[in-house]
Amino acid sequence: MSRLPPALGITAVLTLAFLYLPMLAVAVFSVNTTRYGLEWGGFSWKWYVGLFQNDQILEAARNTLVLAVASTLIATVLGTMLAIALERYPWTRRARTFLDNLLYLPVVTPDIILAAALVVAFSFLRLISGIFELGMVSMIIGHVTFQIAFVALVVQSRLRSLGRDLDEAARDLYANYSYYLRRVLLPLLAPGIVAGAMLAFTLSLDDFVISFFTAGPTSQTLPLFIYASVRRGVTPEIHALSTLIFLVTVLLVLLSERLSRRAA
């Protein structure tokens, strides 16, 4: 296509600006010396320095990373296996429909419902066992539950684009199943698996609702910390923290863009 009405182009650019305006505001205030109010008091990095001296924030950052890495690892393994099972094995039509619906369920359910259901289930578990406390484990479980579907969908679309030729070739050359898995299927799937894992990782970093319900009193993540600060009345460190998280997101997007383009 070549001709685009200028009004359309202007609307598009303004819409993009609208998406970036909030981040720009936060970044500007993160280097402002004024502690209270929004007047410009001069440029300073001091809130960034304060960030790295704040134990609560460092603890929350560590929790966020542990949560994202652990849940991504589990969800990537389970999601990849699920995708292979769905795409490569002859299920009956009815089983297939059931599995597809099961897969779409966490995608279309509002996250607050999954969060509420998990809290109720965990409290039953605690009632029965007497030991289970909400914390990192319950957050990891919650995150994996919504990540699995996204990993599976990404890997599934990669599997669909592969076709059967190389599988048949491996068979014809007498590869046994584990050899075929290690040397043929997984290497071919790798770009899809990496893309799925990246998606799961960012979904975990981005999540607020599931963590909010399942975190319990002891384990805090960065989004929970920011939310609590916003409710209490913000300190300027929050602007610095938000700006850093935004920059990390930019890096992640560029990285995954690079990876997926190399894969294509």
């Binding site: 296509m1 685009l4 182009g9 819409t15 993009l16 998406l19 305006l21 909030p22 981040m23 505001a25 929004l38 389970l78 999601g79 296996m81 699920l82 099972a85 490569r88 094995y89 002859p90 099961l102 369920l105 966490p106 995608v107 279309v108 509002p110 996250d111 607050i112 419902i113 509420a116 259901a117 998990l118 109720v120 289930a121 479980i141 994996v144 539950t145 699995i148 969908l153 059967r164 048949e168 491996a170 068979r171 199943y177 898995l181 981005d206 607020f208 609702v209 989004p223 920011i226 916003v230 913000v234 929050i238 938000s242 998280i245 935004f246 997101t249 930019v250 997007v253 863009e257 383009r261």
Partner: protein
């Protein structure tokens, strides 16, 4: 006699191949059964239980929570909860509508760039979408402060009192919601626009179709798959949203999500929270059903 068959990289009987399939399937299946289906059933069960005086759950079967949802309480009938439910649907609808209206120009704009530039523009849409929602919502709060231009323009137009912030208000909620969900419409819509068959559009123009006719008869039907995905990815999570109304709407502009969150945290009334969740699920199912009815295939990938 079991016949051997070749199935992708395997040679085996139908039974052995199916066993291998189950081996791949079971871990994720069990996970989803234990942490998705069972909790869902528990939530349904709790919706029919009663709240004890210390916030504990009493297992007396009752329909009280559902009748409370419809507005019947100890002080007689009040429409409060129904108003919140209706507002939830309305806000989700308006959010979706505005997002779609803004997403079309953006999707066409990206598709009109040169091939190697499109990645850059797409990344520009993806970055806010991947930035934490709490941060983006808080940032709007910041921008709506009384000293900044937005609130001052609104005050000059006599829309708000001078010296007050633009939030909490319904306007602030819409701005927050649209900025949260816009990328969910732009990305699937773009993938449809990219595959658009322009010869049909040109044919429509050659036949002197008016601009609106060209759009509705040559462009819209072709972008329907992407649009459908975008609308579903926006409308349903928008109904469950509580971060944006919480931070930008204040107590005056609650949605069902806020009500659920309150029941689980401040009031510790899980049975009513569960009943509200069922109400939200019901709304979600109705929305999906309306989409199925309209004859469009729902495919999220």
């Amino acid at each position: 006699m079991n016949r051997l068959l070749v199935w992708y990289g395997e040679l085996g009987t139908a039974g052995s191949i199916l066993r291998r399939g189950l081996m791949f399937l079971l871990p994720a299946l069990l996970w989803l059964l234990v942490f998705l289906i069972l909790p869902g059933l528990a939530l349904v069960a709790v919706a029919f239980a009663e709240r004890g005086s210390f916030g504990e759950i009493l297992w007396n079967f009752s329909l009280e929570n559902l009748s409370r949802l419809l507005g019947y309480g100890i002080f007689g009938w009040s429409p409060d909860n129904l108003i919140i439910l209706a507002r939830t649907v309305w806000v989700a609808f308006i959010t979706t509508l505005i997002s779609v209206l803004l997403a079309y120009p953006l999707a066409f704009f990206i598709a009109s760039r040169k091939l190697h530039q499109r990645y850059v523009w797409l990344a520009l849409v993806i970055i806010p979408f991947w930035t934490n929602l709490v941060i983006r919502t808080y940032a709007w709060q910041l921008l709506f402060a009384p000293q900044l231009p937005f609130a001052q323009i609104a005050a000059a137009l006599h829309l708000i009192e001078p010296g007050t912030a633009l939030n909490p208000s319904s306007f602030a909620v819409y701005v927050g919601m649209v900025s949260a969900f816009l990328p969910f419409v732009v990305l699937p819509l773009y993938s449809s626009v990219e595959r658009l068959d322009w010869s049909l559009v040109e044919a429509a123009q050659d036949l002197y179709g008016s601009r609106s006719r060209v759009f509705f008869q040559a462009i819209l039907p072709q972008t329907l798959p992407g649009l459908t995905v975008g609308v579903i990815l926006t409308f349903i999570p928008a109904m469950g949203m509580f971060v944006v109304p919480d931070l930008l709407g204040g107590a005056k502009y609650l949605l069902v999500g806020n009500l659920i969150q309150q029941q689980f945290f401040s009031s510790r009334d899980w049975p009513f929270g569960a009943a509200l969740s069922l109400g939200l699920v019901l709304l979600t199912l109705i929305a999906l059903q309306i989409y199925r009815r309209s004859g469009k295939e729902v495919d999220l990938v």
